[in-house]
């Protein structure tokens, strides 16, 4: 029964990470126009429904089956919830399954920020399910499931590549295939309620302790290290983002504070259990500045990444994954279950950096290509396509996709039962 502390922490972490998805929904929801608020919330919230089922039936097994094979994909050993409740380990496989389910839920949810205001809900449902099986499970196997990237020696503590580069690459493919929102970038589409965005960012920060510190897998010193690094990177990134924003635009904004914190949380994700000392401050600050600059690119390159999923998650994930090649510290690594390895700044040479670069770009390439194939396939097959009509886009997703409105605040509407 010496697993009790570990179980308590991973169960707690599972709940923390699950809470990130509604947090993300509100982070994004505040940034869209009020007519699309429920559309945004639903694309995220629905992931908790669909992906939980897919993950239990087959997704977890494809990602974590045949653990440590050094290969491309798991197998069906845990499919249909088989063999999860092993009594001798306190049902450890089931614990891993439910903890990882929360990652599988939030990763595709990250993409919704890029495709805001214009994807047909039925097309999102298809994309979500197919992407989870064809993209998330394989990529998770490559690293978390002991696949080829893990065998090569690349490190990804909690999902810099598996979660953030993966979702960011899919987001880039999606905005290219889906096209711009009607009127973008001439028509102003400012956030409708930034308080939601700040609340959502706060929930994300809170939940991220489960995401990163829970990824130690045990209630140990590495979990403590990851917990501390997570907070410090978010803090430094907020300051970095606000400093450059204040210099360039003249104001420190609330949206900048929220965005900076999230960029830091993204960048520390692959590093959390592998770096020490002042490293989280450097990694966070770098992410805050670089992500702020990266989001300006969409106007130059003319792709409508509506809420900057590419600029924050793809770029932030790359920043973290690549900087790990410089900052990794074998003293911290040794606290956990991983092979101890140093980065460039800690005397380990360029070996780890090379592995990190290969892992990052392989993840980007696979996710981008496969996401594009899924979307082009759906566009060809679905009778109404993947995008709402222009008229529906004008009316908003709340009404046209869900037959509801977000804010019925006045008494003046005349409503009768049919």
């Amino acid at each position: 029964m010496d697993y009790q502390g570990d179980h308590a922490w991973i169960l707690t972490s599972s709940a923390l990470v699950l809470f990130m998805t509604p947090g993300l929904a509100f982070f994004y929801g505040g940034m869209v126009r009020s007519k699309n608020m429920l559309g945004m919330l639903m694309q995220n919230f629905f992931s908790m429904g669909l992906i939980s089922v897919i993950w239990g039936v087959v997704g977890f097994s494809l990602a974590f089956g045949n653990f440590g094979d050094g290969g491309l994909l798991g197998d069906f050993e845990f499919a249909w919830m088989r063999d999860l409740f092993d009594p001798s380990s306190g049902a450890r496989p089931a614990l891993d399954m439910i903890y990882q389910a929360t990652f599988a839920i939030i990763t595709p949810a990250l993409i919704t920020g890029a495709i805001a205001d214009r994807m047909r809900f039925s097309a999102w449902v298809w994309f979500l399910g197919l992407w989870s099986i064809l993209v998330y499970s394989p990529v998770a196997h490559w690293v978390f499931g002991g696949g080829w990237m893990a065998k090569m020696g690349a490190l990804d503590f909690a999902g810099g590549a598996v979660v953030h580069i993966n979702a960011g690459a899919a987001a880039l493919a999606a905005v290219i295939i889906l096209g711009k929102r009607k009127g973008w970038p001439k028509t102003a589409m400012p956030p409708h309620m930034l308080p939601w965005t700040l609340l959502g960012a706060g929930i994300l920060w809170f939940g991220w302790f489960g995401f990163n510190a829970g990824s130690a897998g045990l209630a140990n010193g590495q979990a403590v290290q990851a917990f501390v690094n997570t907070n410090m990177a978010a803090a430094a990134a907020m300051l970095g983002w606000l400093a450059v924003e204040r210099l360039k635009d003249g104001h420190a904004t609330t949206l900048g504070a929220a965005s900076g914190a999230v960029a830091g949380l993204v960048a520390i994700t692959p590093c959390a259990g592998f770096v020490s000392g002042m490293s989280p401050f450097y990694i966070g600050a770098a992410a805050g500045v670089i992500c702020y600059l990266a989001i300006q690119l969409k106007f130059k390159l003319q792709y409508d990444d509506s809420l900057d999923v590419v600029g924050v998650h793809l770029v932030g994930g790359l920043v973290g994954s690549l900087l790990l090649g410089f900052f990794a510290d074998d003293v911290v690594n040794a606290l956990g279950q991983y092979a101890a390895v140093d980065g460039v700044f800690t005397g380990g040479g360029w070996g780890l950096f090379k592995d990190q670069a290969v892992a990052s770009f392989a993840t980007f390439g696979y996710s981008f290509a496969m996401s594009a194939i899924i979307l082009l396939g759906l566009k060809a097959v679905l009778p109404k396509g993947i995008r709402v009509t222009e008229d529906e886009e004008d009316q908003g997703l709340d009404l046209t996709q869900h037959a509801e409105v977000s804010y019925a605040l006045g008494d003046m509407g005349s409503m009768a039962r049919e």
Binding site: P190, D249, T253, L255, S259, Y292, I295, Q296, F299, D308
Partner: protein, 112 residues
């Protein structure tokens, strides 16, 4: 009877209300509106992208008064709403053909 309509800065509403009370106005209707005159709007910045917002929040005050009271009501509103800065708003007077108190059916000046 006259309808006095004023567009004022939102934060001057309480001053205008008090000033109207002092000249004997017993009731008024206010609504939140948006608009611009010479003041134009302001700029907002979200993640480095600048937006110009032309329509700024204003409050519209409407009062129906007896013909003889219109001038002093206009003065009361203008005096209370004035900050001497651009964007203080406008006040205008239009004739009213008839007025009826819904509860009692009283008409004309009795309904005010």
């Amino acid at each position: 009877m006259k309808l006095v309509t004023a567009i004022i800065k939102p934060h001057k509403l309480d001053d205008v209300k008090a000033s109207l009370g002092e000249v004997g106005v017993a009731g008024m209707t206010v609504s939140e509106v948006r608009g611009f005159g010479r003041q134009r709007g302001h700029t907002e910045t979200y993640r480095g992208a600048e937006y110009t917002v032309d329509f700024v929040p204003k409050v519209r005050v409407e009062v129906v008064v007896d013909d003889g009271d219109a001038a002093k009501v206009v003065e009361a509103i203008a005096g209370a709403a004035r900050t001497d800065k651009i964007g203080d708003g406008k006040v205008w007077v239009t004739p009213v053909e008839s007025i009826t108190r819904i509860r009692t059916g009283e008409a004309g000046a009795d309904a005010l």
